[in-house]
């Protein structure tokens, strides 16, 4: 009995030892050299594998970073400047500081503002709807409301608002990875500079139709009237194809354009209520709705 146990133990340990030796030899022979810094860099990255950097995942991004001579063009939008500094330290290279950004939905064509003139029926996907026709409203530029952007977001930073039928961004969660920007077939979502206290001023419209058509399709469409361009003291607003655009780098958030816009197409978010009562009641209600969409 005891001998059986003894032999069993001996033979099994012998087998184990032989196998261990073979494995060790194989590991030595087929060893693939890998830069240890790749692991370090990967450690420093957020590990979200979101693809916001343009690589399939954090590992591939780390490999690219280690391989690159100059990493100033590389940026991890999720980790931001802190992460990039850490990476630069590991690699002993320089990295340019980038401004933090946030995704902004440039359409305010809610159910109230933009009448539905047809009903779409088919797969619930903006991409497919956009390939079929110009959308349920008369504005073929605006939000289709099927939530492709929500689908691709890895950070729970964008949601559909049931009341308005538009997506809204939760600024705190948004990492500006750009997935929603790529997913939107109508290119409504833009990554804009993140201001203090998450304040925002932007033209919440992408309609390039002529004024009459744009206004008919949507109450809060930009009609390209040029008023904001004229009033802007910083030359921050351009007008192209009947559509105004506020350049984030030049805008100083003075809000003069908001006051002159006849259709309330310029969104103003995150500001304290104003003291002067220049705006009429109608405008106020429209504004409230807008901020409801946004925050």
């Amino acid at each position: 009995m005891t001998t059986t146990v003894l032999y069993t133990i001996l033979s099994l340990s012998g087998l184990g030892a032989v196998a261990a030796m073979i494995l060790y030899a194989a590991a030595q022979k087929f060893k693939v050299y890998e830069d240890p810094r790749i692991d370090q860099v990967e450690e420093a990255l957020p590990g979200a594998n979101c693809g916001g950097c343009g690589y399939p995942g954090c590992r591939q991004f780390a490999e690219a970073l280690v391989k690159a001579d100059d990493i100033s063009d590389y940026y991890c939008p999720v980790g931001g400047n802190d992460t990039m500094k850490e990476v630069a330290q590991i690699l002993g290279r320089e990295v340019a500081e980038q401004e933090p950004k946030v995704a902004v939905v440039r359409c305010n064509g809610s159910f109230q503002n933009r009448k539905r003139t047809s009903i779409y029926e088919g797969p619930s996907s903006c991409a497919i709807e956009a390939s079929l026709f110009g959308g349920e409203t008369d504005c073929q530029y605006g939000c289709l409301g099927k939530g492709d952007c929500v689908e691709v977001c890895d950070f729970e930073a964008i949601f559909m608002n049931e009341e308005t039928g538009l997506p809204y961004v939760i600024d705190d969660n948004c990492t500006a990875c750009g997935a929603c920007v790529d997913a939107c077939p109508n290119n409504i979502i833009e990554l804009r500079k993140r201001y203090k206290k998450d304040r925002k001023i932007y033209v919440s419209c992408v309609n390039e139709d002529k004024p009459a058509a744009a206004k008919k399709a949507c109450q809060v469409a930009c009609i390209g009237c040029n008023k904001c361009v004229k009033v802007c003291p910083f030359d921050a607003i351009t007008l192209e194809n009947n559509l105004a655009y506020i350049i984030p780098d030049k805008c100083k958030l003075c809000r003069k354009c908001v006051d002159v816009c006849p259709t309330n197409a310029i969104a103003e978010i995150g500001f304290p209520p104003r003291r002067n009562k220049r705006r009429n009641a109608k405008k106020e209600s429209a504004d409230q709705e807008q901020s409801k969409n946004q925050s």
């Binding site: 047809s118 009903i119 779409y120 029926e121 797969p123 079929l132």
Partner: protein, 332 residues
């Protein structure tokens, strides 16, 4: 101009009237002749087993979808009913009610819902339940009542061996010896033999096959390939040594072969998509069945053969492609 708000949708704008529900009820209709014959042959037992099986399958599907998966139950699509019927067809007509309910729970719970429900299960749910019961309750699952006209008693049925069981137990005797005591081909064709509730009556199953083909519920490839391959394989064995091996007709008419070929192997979800793959699948089932029956220790192997081939279906779907239009002429 009218102010009608028009619906815009991608083409096509018309659809065939066939729905999943219609297809499932087509299977149910095709199963009815067999069920009717079973009731006539086995009596009250057949009714109780079938009712318990169908009701518990539907109930389990409802409960699981409602409370575990938390979605709208889809019991009306008829698939649970088909599973229930097929499970009942695959067990003896005097199986204790408790065991049937366990079988239904395994079929629906493990065989189907654990994978996400209709369309996602890799194995035929009814067969998962059946094989589970066969392994867990071998005694009860192999006590076959003899079909002797309508029997009003559930438990006190007279039991006997199946023809395939006799073949398995033959020991040193030759096949011809066994054949003497086995039922005649006529009896086999009309289901006058021991066996599961729905597997004995060849003619009723063939009526079912005709209904399925006529209603375009299934294509002919799978039943044909299973029957042909079984016939050919057993035929070869029989020609080699008729004293050792039973003839092909005996193999085709006994056990669950026809039930399996017509109703179990053709289950949409667990069978291949392309005719070429269907042939491979069917031949695989036929060959495995014969191997298990003739060389294995179980008298019957259709269930196992189908489950084994079910496992190959994803592989077949992946590698066997239909011939594309204009494929032969390669274009630069």
């Amino acid at each position: 101009m009218s102010n009608n708000v028009l619906t815009v949708s991608p083409s096509p704008h018309v659809y065939q009237s066939t729905t999943v529900r219609k297809l499932m009820y087509g299977v149910v209709i095709a199963l009815l002749p067999t069920l009717a014959w079973s009731v006539v042959s086995f009596g009250i037992g057949a009714i109780i087993v079938t009712l318990v099986s169908v009701i518990s399958c539907i109930l389990f599907e409802y409960l699981i979808e409602r409370f575990l998966l938390k979605r709208t139950p889809s019991i009306t699509d008829g698939s649970a009913m088909v599973t229930g019927l097929l499970l009942a067809f695959n067990v003896p007509a005097n199986l204790p009610v408790g065991i049937i309910i366990i079988g239904a729970l395994v079929s629906i719970g493990i065989g189907k819902m654990s994978f996400g429900g209709l369309g996602r299960n890799p194995f035929n749910p009814a067969l998962v339940g059946r094989v589970f019961l066969l392994i867990s309750f071998p005694a009860q699952m192999t006590r076959w009542p003899i079909p002797k006209g309508f029997n009003t008693s559930y438990v006190n049925a007279q039991t006997g061996a199946t023809p395939l069981g006799m073949l398995q137990e033959k020991g040193e005797a030759t096949v011809s010896k066994v054949m003497e005591s086995a039922p005649s081909y006529g009896d086999l064709f009309y289901g006058q033999m021991g066996g599961s509730l729905g597997e004995m009556a060849a003619f009723a199953l063939i009526i079912g096959l005709i209904i399925l083909l006529y209603m375009r519920v299934i294509s002919w490839h799978i039943p044909a390939s299973i029957i042909l391959s079984t016939g050919v394989f057993t035929g070869i064995l029989w020609l080699v040594d008729p004293t050792q091996y039973a003839d092909p007709l005996f193999h085709l008419l006994t056990g669950g072969l026809l039930l399996g070929a017509i109703f179990m192997a053709t289950d949409y979800v667990t069978s291949p998509m392309v005719p070429k793959a269907m042939w491979i699948y069917g031949i695989g089932i036929g060959v495995l069945t014969v191997i298990i029956r003739v060389f294995g220790s179980y008298p019957e192997g259709v269930s196992f053969a189908i489950l084994i081939m079910n496992a190959f279906v994803p592989l077949l779907n992946r590698y066997i492609k239909p011939k594309r239009f204009g494929e032969e002429v390669q274009h630069g």
